[in-house]
Amino acid sequence: MTTYYTSEHEWISVDGDVGTVGITKFAAEKLGDVVFVELPDVGKSVKKEADMAVVESVKAASDVYAPVTGEVTAANAAIVDEPAKVNEDPEGGGWFVKIKLADMGQLTGLMDKAAYEAFCASQ
């Protein structure tokens, strides 16, 4: 299983042709306390770099973008019921959706962990 990162601070952890997607620890810390999450329905098609989900803190709403094009195969109801889980474990139990990738080639444009860490350090 390999994890990739976007410049919009999403991560995608790929197993076969299905990727689990969430927001990074860096993003969760920047957002502050998450109070509301809106996820796409299972079966919905999402497009790389287009809005996919919404995450709201006390102060503001932010869009979460799809790191790849594909179909949503699962949505994490646990973070809808308990949005604080996004802050507690953003890169684990606080995952957002699973996406069946339409084009595995889209992964090559994403960052690996080292590149993403360097990117965050430059922010």
Binding site: G32, D33, V35, F36, E38, V54, E56, S57, V58, K59, A60, A61
Partner: protein
Amino acid sequence: MTDVSNTPLKTTPLHGLHTRLGARMAEFGGYDMPIQYADGIMTEHNWTRSHAGLFDVSHMGPSFLSLPQLGGGDQAHRKVASIIERLVPSDIAGLAPGKVQLTVLLDANGGIIDDLMIGRPPRDDQQGMLYIVVNAGTKENDFSLIAKTAGAEAELHRADDRALIAIQGPEAEAVITGILPEAVPLTFMTFHEIKNTAFGNVIATRCGYTGEDGFEILVPAEHGEAFANRLLEDPRVKPIGLGARDSLRLEGGMCLYGHDIDISKTPVAASLSWMVSKARRERGDFPGADRILRELKEGVPSRRVGIRPLGRAPAREGTEIQNTDGETIGVVTSGGFGPTVNGPVAQGYVDTTYTKTGTPLKLIVRGRALEAEVAALPFVPAKYKR
């Protein structure tokens, strides 16, 4: 709002302290201000509701409007009050010594230029002076308007050389008892000067912007950090940023200038008619009196109300409000998540037909109509010390 993109941000006397406390800083009202500290907005909000929060509000505009000669009792007070009453609809002449009044500066059309606090000093030898505190983002305009209105009759002294520090929450009084015991006898919306403290001559006002009991204390800038540190030494006190200040005031049903009120709103539309005092209504001698008196009698097309979204999704500023038939009837002017309410809360303007508490509304959030209803303000009961 003024364009601050090319202007270096101003800083308060506590700026260094914020940095050392690890605050996340951002621009507000032209100042580089702490939005939150390490604990985050939710924890800071809840701390203020259960203990005591310290807020740096030095970006606001404290000032004094003074006659050339102070003293002279009621007559001097009425004289200086008559000057500021040219700009506000409240009965400043009728303020008791030591009382503070929340009111609004009005333009000739009755539109709200700013909201502000005006206090009458308790001491005889200071009659003829008013303590005035305006908002940060509007203070340059407010101060020039007040100074121009006063002309040669009175002089406006800006208190830019001070720090203004708020301590808010159920434990604020206990904290202050050990540091500035002379402030403790104050009741809600009263103030007095306390001379020769360890932090110089200070002005303590029992007021705030959270719905909690608390104080706002004006101290000389050079003592600002020492005073803040003295408060922070108490384990009941934590520093609170502007993020939690906003969620606290929103739950408290208070207006944020530039959002819930602005020049396009009259006090009647803003549900602030209580600021237009009886004596002033009778005399009709305030800016925009024709329009405001007519609105008081005949009503306004839309009015500010509290709004409670029934789901979990917050409705932010600018959200369209519809009736149950899908017709547009208003707009949200501030909205977010209320940690004490444990749900979303908002304020907005709706057509007057829909202002009754419990009226069902639809909020259009990301293309979907979310259920909401008109709610009584405040969302969280005020705990002032009367």
